[in-house]
Structures are given as structure tokens and as C-alpha cells.
Amino acid sequence: MKTIKRVQKQTKMKTTLILLSLGLMTLSCSNDDDNPVAVDEEEVITTMNISLTAAGNTVTLSSQDLDGDGPNAPEINVTGTLSANTVYTGSIELLNETESPAEDITLEVAEEDDEHQFFYNVSGALSGFDYVDVDGNNNPVGLSFTITTGDAGTGILQVTLRHEPKKPNDGTLADAGGETDIAQSFSIGVE
């Protein structure tokens, strides 16, 4: 009698176990077949436009990388040439062109200017660089600046945007540290 009872109890238990498992299985299997939604990258910088202006003459440097960390390298464009021995006023614009209309990332950098700094390294036929703007702590930011050209030739401009650098720093990337958001170099003709 007792045995029978036990067996019944076991069978019951087994059935419960199996039912429970099956229940959970079907519950989870009823997962819908909808396709996932695409993610449009936020806070991505796809485009950097620098304009250098002196005496009504504007030269534009641009770097555009629409596939982000995809395999395609950024497309670099320089319109025109700079005049020798001239001081140019520069400004920089950052865009996220994966969104339509394009998002202006420059505003975000301007808002958090104490956490950002642009570094401009000039060489070759470019002879000088100066920051024009400062953040709330009187440290340079680099959204606007001046570049001075030397004698005719080819100049190299390296632009780096650092997030959370040490501020103030001695103006070198090594001292500033932080995380690189942009690193691009341009070769510009000077006539």
C-alpha cells in the first residue's frame, strides 16, 4: 500500500516536473519573430570641417568618415591653397551626418569645454598657431584659433580632440592625456 502510494507520489512529481519544464519552454518559445530595430549611432563624429580665413580668402579642410569604425578610411579634402606669411583665423565644426539633418557636435563640445581641448600641431610651411578661445577656467579650448603661414611650400596641420584631458597642460598631447575623439592630419599647399 505504502509502496503504491509512493510510486503515485513519484509519478505525480515527475509529471509536475515535466509539465513545469514544458510550460517554461513554451512560455519562452513564444518569443515574437519581429525583427530587431536598427541602432543609429549617437554622439558619433563623422565630419570635421575647418575653415581658415584671411582677407576674404577662405580655405576649407574637411574629413568625412561616414561609416565610423567601419572599414572605409575618412575622405580628406582641402579646397584651395593658403598665402605665404599670412595670419589666418580658424574655426572648426564637428557633425554627425549619420543623422538627418546632421547633428552639430560642436555645440556639445562648446557646452562641455572644460572637458575638451583641441590640439593643433603645425609643421612645414605652417609656422605658428595660437588659441583664441578659453573655457570657464581660462584654459584654451581651440574651437577658434589662428594659424600663421611661413614661406611657400607644403604645410602639415595635425588636429586632435581630446576628451577629459589634464587641464591646464603644457600644450603637448603627451602631457594632456585623456581620450582621443578626433585625430586627423592635413597637408596644405602654401603659395
Partner: protein, 798 residues
């Protein structure tokens, strides 16, 4: 040894004669549960009645002149412990008593028995409870490193992935209370989501020989079981706390168990850990704190004949990742490697900020077993797991507090196995497994998914056998088949899709073209076979020779197939490959062991040849507006790992013992003839311990760990540095120099209410505060490893 009874009584005469006459007869029969043969020479005593008899050669016994009513029998056999049986006498009574008479059996046996292996022929290791307690405030990976041949791949001190004989990640299975962990083990910075304090019987099978747990354990299996619960009416608990100087924190863990004579038990356990920023000998490691919470509860009944268990465990960790390791591009990496010092060091803090990872793991299990007389044991199990992983990067603006990666992995498994053990010397086990898994990648992160949404289906069937050919020769073998299907929905960038050449081979799987992205539906099936065969030969009383061959196949994991994106922590673009096939390993291992009370040794060489080995290594450089990034791509090649684990111990006197372990492994990509990446350097560990039971059970130990420099590594890559305007060598593969660490451990026991119920230990690691870097620590580019840590542990049993 335990045995049990089926209550089966038959009234021969249904007469209800006056009960007080005491004329009833009890006729009993004692039978071996496994093969139904009679057991001779068992002593049967009626407790409190001073009546005793012995079973005859048909296994029968007889008592006369019994009063009707309830009485208790004590049945004992020379090879077994005594068993008490209560039965009702109602007139003349017949009783069949089934004794469990095999030596291994019931899990309770393990308490007293020597090391019970998971297989008879493979190389294995087991942590003693003392070791587990020493590492209670660390992680599973730290504790396992004390075993010869086990090392770890770290991301800092708190993310520790076990490496078995040079292999890790998806090649190492973790069985947590008989549930195979499904916790995104594919990532290098994903540590096992287990609380070392929950299931403290921890052993390792080095290789794929334990087929019942899975066929893809090319590296090995880590088995974590609960400590056995003794079948007696009792309530006992244990509380342990550890305090650390390095990190200025500690942990506490408590367990409480209520058990009954009937085999019923209920056990609860909880742990909490909090550490702040860790320190090297020279500087603080900003944002390296950790907070960990764990809890588990199990309710069950263990009887010889049948038993069940319901188990639930919860594990949650929030781990800070060194701020200085979060970098922007390859120039930042070059700078970090050159500067040798982190560029951001803040004041000490317990606060965990970005970058960090928050992982939660739920595990539930229902298990039932039943033995069938003369046949064997059936086991049925359902388990459920949910793993949620949130990874935070340093982000700006509105996204600053948003996770960059948000994955939920849900797994259901049903498994059943049957162990046939009715024939002496032969044990056969067969089993089935069904598993369903869903991965969901939350798109709200605003970052393209690194791992896509997928559904995965697994089915497995296995058979393993152990045969005792002679008294000193044991054979084992097994075979397993696994089917696995992965059905993913993944977005590809069109540029990446074309660059990989998928437009030619996989155009049929495109579901939708969104302009710059493609939605695809890769479905892959894998059929894997694994097999093992080996023997254990014992010569003399103390020496054993084990030989094992294991064939194992492993299907590529979701990361290997699908990953596509930028890893900030390593400044690298990681690329999976849709064309990957299963990898196939052939491993031969040998182990010669001697164990005597005076001294012993183990010599264990192995050779693991892996075809289509999936390896992740730097292959090229890609340029983005953020600068240059090395591309790390998965590829398949043929690899060979050859190694040796050796250990010796000697008891110089009753009080002094020394231990010496050495392990070495060499990994080669034999197709390209270059060394494999991330192969642990050889290490040599020596320890001396002094114990004196008369001085409060004092145990003093000095441990030395010497890690050699890894001289075999793949070549570094050259990258163009926009900052330096030239090609530079990225010293990303060059290992750091050798190092030597000392640790001191002292413990004593005190008796508060019971004997030795309080244990107090002091442990100092990196005793000399040595500055060093470890090859298998992913943060070695940025910072030194940990400095001295003084810890105090207190264990109280009640």
C-alpha cells in the same frame, strides 16, 4: 556507506489475534540493491530488545516471539555503516531489506573519502575546503590558480577568467551545482558569474574527458558542487569574513543549513563584498573598486532511493574598470605603453564610475533522481538561467549614464541521464540534453550591437562507461554527439559587409536593406562529435598511471561569429567571421602519480592538437576620423599545445611539509609556425608549511610564486601613427619580464562552543610589495599589478 529499504510487508495471516501475546514472527531477507543477490553475514539487531541475529547464505534472517507494534531494526554489514529501519509488526511479518553495498555511491560518502575523481583516466585537480576559504574574498579564478596547470586571464584584479592548460573562455565549461553556466563566457573581460562561497566543492578536469558535462570542453571543465549535507537532524551554520588592506574593504558570507534524518534539508547562503580602489606599490588604481552580492537557497531531500532538489542562486557584481585603460585610439595606446604610468590618478574612493560593468545572473534548478533496484539511477533536471550584462563607457552629454552594451541572455535546459550500475565493475551512463537560449541586445544604448539578437538550440546525447578490468586496471570510454543551431538577426554596415566579402557568399541571408546598414539572418547548424578513452593502472599501493585520449569539437560562439565593432578598452576593432567552422581537438594526456603519507608526486605531460583553432589576433590597421585602430580578427588555424604539470610534496616531519608545483605550456600556430597569443608563461610555486596542533592548531605557511617571462609570443604589429606621422611598432604582444612574489599565511583555531569552531587567519600577499606586470593581465599596458595586501579572515562554525 549507506543503504536503504523498501517498505514491503505482507501479512501472512490476516488474523487479528490478541496483540499482546507476542507470538509474531518477523521473516527478513537482505538483498543487494544493485544486482538483487542475497547478502550474507549482515547483523540484525532489534534495538532496545537485546535480540540479535545474522543473515544466512540466502540473505535471510528470522525473529520469533515478537509483540505486535512498532519496532526498530539496526542492520549492519561488515562493509557498511549501520542502518536503522522502523517497521510495524502486525502478526507474522515478512520484510525485504535492500542494502546498498557498493563502495562509491551516495554523495555523502565524499565527506570522509579521499579525492573522488570525476573521471578515472583524465588529469584532474581539486581544491581543498581550506584553499576555498583562503580565497573566499577573491574570485573563483584566483582560487583555481593554486592548482597546477590552471592560470588566469585578468582584466585588472577583479575580472579573472580561468585558463586551463593554456585554454579559456568558451573552451572551459563551468558546472555550477550541476548547471552549465551560460554567462557570456565568450568575452575576454567577462569573468564567470559565480560566488566562490556558494558551492565550495571545486574540482577541475583538464580536458574534454568528462563528456557528460559537454563535448566542447577543449580546455576543461570546472565543477562546483555544494558541500555534502549530512543526513541527520541538525542545524548548522558558518560565517566567514575577510578584511583587506588593499582596496580597504572586505567581504562577508554566511550559510545556514537545516537537515533532517529523513534526508530533507534546506540551506540558505548569502555573500556581500565591497572593495574600493586597489593599489600598486607606487600608485592608486583609479576606478578599480568592486561590489558583489550573492545569495542562494536550496531545498531538497536526499534519500538512497530517490531525492529532489530545488535550487536558486543570484549573483550580482558591479566592477570598475581602470579609468586609464579607457583610451581613444592607437596613439593613446602607444602613449600608455610608453609612459608606464597611468595619466589619471585620483584620490582613493569606493565609488565605481564609468567605465564599469554590471552583471546579474539568476540560476534556478529543479532536479529529481530515483534508483531502480537491480538497474541503476535516473536523474532528471530542468534549469533556467538569466544573465544580464551592462557595460558602461565614458560617454558625453545626455548619454553619459547610458550603458554602451546591454545584453540579456536567457537559457532553459532539460537534461536527463541514467546510470546503470548493477554489474560489479561496470558502470554505464547515458544521457540526453535539450537547451534553448535567447540573446537580446537592447538597442536603447545608442551604440551598434556588438553581439546580435539570436536564438540558439542545442541537443546532446552521450554514453560513458567505466569498466574495472582487473583489480588494478580501470578502463573508461565515452562518446557524445551535439547538435547546435544558431539563428541570429544581425545588422551589418554595408561597407563592412562588402569588405568581408559577405556580399558574394551570404547575399541570400539579407532581410532588409536600410541604406547604410543591412539586416541579415544568419542561421548556422553545427554537428559535433566528441569521444574519450583511457585507463587507470595502479601498481603497488601508492602509484598510479593514467592515460587519456579525448576528441572534442566546439562550435564557434556568437562573439567569434558575429562581433563587429570598436572595443574602447583595448583600442581595437574586433571582427567575427561568419565562415567559421567548429574546431576539433585531439588531446593525449598522461599522468603518473604517487601518494604516500611521507611524500608524493604527479607528473602530467599532455599534447593537445587543435584543428581549425579559432584565434583572435591583430591583423591590420583601419583609419577612422578618431585615428588609427588595429583590427583584431578571428581566424582559424591549426594549433598545438604541449605542456607539463608537475608537483611534488614531502612531509619532512609531522609538522613540516613542503609543496612544489611547476607548470609549463607551449602553444604554436603550426600552420603559420608562430607562437600562439596569450599562452600562460611557465610558473614555479613552492611553499613550506608548519603545523602544530598543540598550539591552537597553528598553521604557518610561506608561499613563493615565480612566473617566468613568456619568450614565445606572436610578432608585434606596425601601425601608422597620425600623431608621429610615421610607422611605429605597436609593442602590444611583447610580454613583461619575469617576477617573483611571496605570500605569508598564518591561522589558528579556537574552541568557543564546539571544538575548533573559530578559525582566525592572517594572509599577506605580495609580501615584499614588488612592482610587476603579468602577461595575462589585459591592463598590463597601462599599470602595474597589485601591491601588498594584508588580509584577515575569521571563520565561525555553529
Amino acid at each position: 556507506m549507506k543503504y536503504n529499504v523498501i517498505l514491503l510487508f505482507v501479512c501472512l495471516w490476516g488474523s487479528i489475534s490478541t496483540a499482546q501475546e507476542c507470538k509474531s514472527i518477523l521473516l527478513g531477507e537482505i538483498i543487494d540493491f544493485h544486482n538483487n543477490t542475497p547478502l550474507t553475514g549482515a547483523t540484525v539487531i532489534i534495538t532496545g530488545k537485546n535480540k540479535q541475529t545474522v543473515s544466512n547464505n540466502q540473505g535471510k534472517f528470522r525473529f520469533e516471539k515478537l509483540c505486535d507494534g512498532i519496532l526498530e531494526l539496526e542492520v549492519s554489514h561488515p562493509e557498511c555503516t549501520s542502518e536503522f529501519i522502523t517497521l510495524t509488526i502486525n502478526g507474522d511479518t515478512y520484510k525485504k531489506i535492500l542494502l546498498e553495498h557498493h563502495l562509491e555511491e551516495l554523495d555523502e560518502v565524499k565527506v570522509t573519502g579521499a579525492i573522488a575523481n570525476n573521471t578515472s583516466s583524465a588529469q584532474e585537480g581539486r581544491l581543498s575546503l581550506k584553499e576555498v576559504e583562503k580565497y573566499s574574498g577573491n574570485s573563483l579564478g584566483d582560487a583555481l590558480k593554486t592548482l597546477t596547470g590552471v592560470s588566469s586571464l585578468n582584466t585588472g584584479a577583479n575580472i579573472v577568467k580561468p585558463v586551463i592548460q593554456g585554454l579559456m573562455g568558451s573552451r572551459v565549461l563551468i558546472l555550477n551545482n550541476n548547471v552549465r553556466m551560460q554567462d557570456m563566457e565568450w568575452g575576454e573581460e567577462h569573468a564567470p558569474n559565480v560566488d566562490i562561497n556558494a558551492n565550495q566543492d571545486i574540482s577541475v578536469v583538464k580536458g574534454a574527458a568528462a563528456l557528460e558535462y559537454g563535448g566542447d570542453a577543449i580546455g576543461g571543465v570546472i565543477i562546483m558542487n555544494p558541500l555534502p549535507i549530512i543526513r541527520t537532524d541538525s542545524l548548522f551554520g558558518k560565517t566567514q569574513t575577510n578584511l583587506f588592506s588593499n582596496g580597504r574593504g572586505g567581504n562577508i558570507t554566511t550559510s545556514l543549513t537545516k537537515s533532517y534524518n529523513s534526508g530533507f534539508y534546506i540551506k540558505g547562503q548569502g555573500s556581500f563584498k565591497q572593495l574600493g580602489d586597489l593599489e600598486t606599490p607606487n600608485y592608486l588604481l583609479t576606478n578599480t573598486g568592486i561590489q558583489e552580492k550573492g545569495a542562494s537557497i536550496s531545498i531538497g531531500k536526499r534519500d538512497f532511493l530517490q531525492g529532489y532538489e530545488a535550487y536558486y542562486s543570484f549573483f550580482d557584481s558591479d566592477i570598475g574598470i581602470l579609468r586609464a585603460s579607457h583610451i581613444g585610439n592607437v596613439d593613446d595606446l602607444i602613449q600608455s605603453i610608453n609612459s608606464q604610468q597611468p595619466n589619471s590618478i585620483n584620490d582613493f574612493s569606493y565609488i565605481i564610475e564609468q567605465p564599469n560593468q554590471e552583471v546579474t545572473h539568476h540560476l534556478g534548478k529543479l532536479n529529481y533522481y530515483r534508483r531502480f533496484e537491480g538497474l541503476g539511477k535516473l536523474n532528471v533536471q530542468y534549469d533556467f538561467q538569466e544573465n544580464r550584462r551592462l557595460e558602461y563607457d565614458v560617454r558625453v552629454g545626455a548619454d553619459a549614464n547610458k550603458a554602451s552594451l546591454d545584453l540579456s541572455l536567457t537559457t532553459h535546459s532539460i537534461s536527463t541521464d541514467f546510470r546503470f550500475d548493477s554489474k560489479d565493475g561496470l558502470e554505464v551512463k547515458t544521457g540526453l540534453l535539450g537547451r534553448y537560449q535567447i540573446n537580446f541586445a537592447n538597442p536603447d544604448t545608442g551604440v551598434r550591437r556588438l553581439i546580435p539578437d539570436y536564438n540558439k538550440y542545442d541537443f546532446g546525447v552521450f554514453g560513458v562507461a567505466e569498466y574495472k578490468l582487473k583489480d588494478n586496471l580501470m578502463l573508461d570510454m565515452g562518446i557524445r554527439y551535439d547538435f547546435s543551431r544558431i539563428d541570429a538577426k544581425k545588422f551589418y554596415r554595408v561597407s563592412r559587409w562588402d569588405e568581408r566579402g559577405y556580399d558574394e557568399d551570404f547575399s541570400a541571408i539579407i532581410l532588409e536593406d536600410l541604406g547604410t546598414q543591412l539586416l541579415t539572418n544568419p542561421i548556422f547548424d553545427f554537428h559535433n562529435i566528441s569521444a574519450t578513452a583511457g585507463f587507470e593502472y595502479q601498481f603497488g599501493k601508492e602509484t598510479k598511471l593514467r592515460f587519456n585520449y579525448a576528441l572534442a569539437q566546439r562550435a564557434p560562439n556568437p562573439s567569434e561569429l558575429f562581433s563587429e565593432g570598436l572595443h574602447h578598452s583595448a583600442a581595437r576593432i574586433e571582427l567575427g567571421d561568419l565562415r567559421l567552422k567548429s574546431e576539433t581537438a585531439n588531446k593525449v594526456s598522461l599522468s603518473l602519480e604517487k601518494n604516500s603519507s611521507k611524500w608524493g608526486y604527479t607528473l602530467a605531460p599532455y599534447l593537445n592538437t587543435i584543428n581549425d583553432f579559432i584565434v583572435l589576433e591583430p591583423t591590420a590597421v583601419e583609419f577612422t576620423i578618431r585615428g588609427a585602430f588595429p583590427v583584431w580578427a578571428y581566424r582559424q588555424t591549426n594549433a598545438q599545445l604541449i605542456g607539463l604539470d608537475a608537483s611534488v610534496y614531502n612531509n619532512w616531519s609531522l609538522k613540516i611539509r613542503t609543496d612544489h608545483n611547476f607548470s609549463w605550456v607551449s602553444g604554436t600556430d603550426i600552420s603559420a609556425n608562430i607562437p600562439l597569443i596569450n599562452i600562460p608563461p611557465a610558473n614555479f610555486n613552492n611553499s613550506i608549511s608548519y603545523r602544530n596542533p598543540n598550539w591552537k592548531n597553528l598553521i604557518l605557511g610561506l608561499e613563493s610564486r615565480y612566473v617566468f617571462e613568456q619568450k614565445r609570443f606572436p610578432p608585434n604589429i606596425n601601425v601608422f601613427s597620425p600623431e608621429q606621422q610615421q610607422e611605429v611598432e605597436l609593442v602590444i604582444n611583447t610580454p613583461p619580464p619575469a617576477y617573483h612574489l611571496l605570500a605569508l599565511d598564518a591561522e589558528t583555531s579556537y574552541s568557543i562552543r564546539n571544538k575548533n569552531d573559530l578559525n582566525v587567519g592572517l594572509r599577506i600577499t605580495n609580501l615584499l610589495d614588488t612592482s610587476y606586470r603579468e602577461y595575462l593581465n589585459r591592463l598590463r599596458y597601462f599599470v602595474d599589478d597589485l601591491g601588498r595586501n594584508i588580509s584577515l579572515r575569521i571563520i565561525y562554525n555553529y
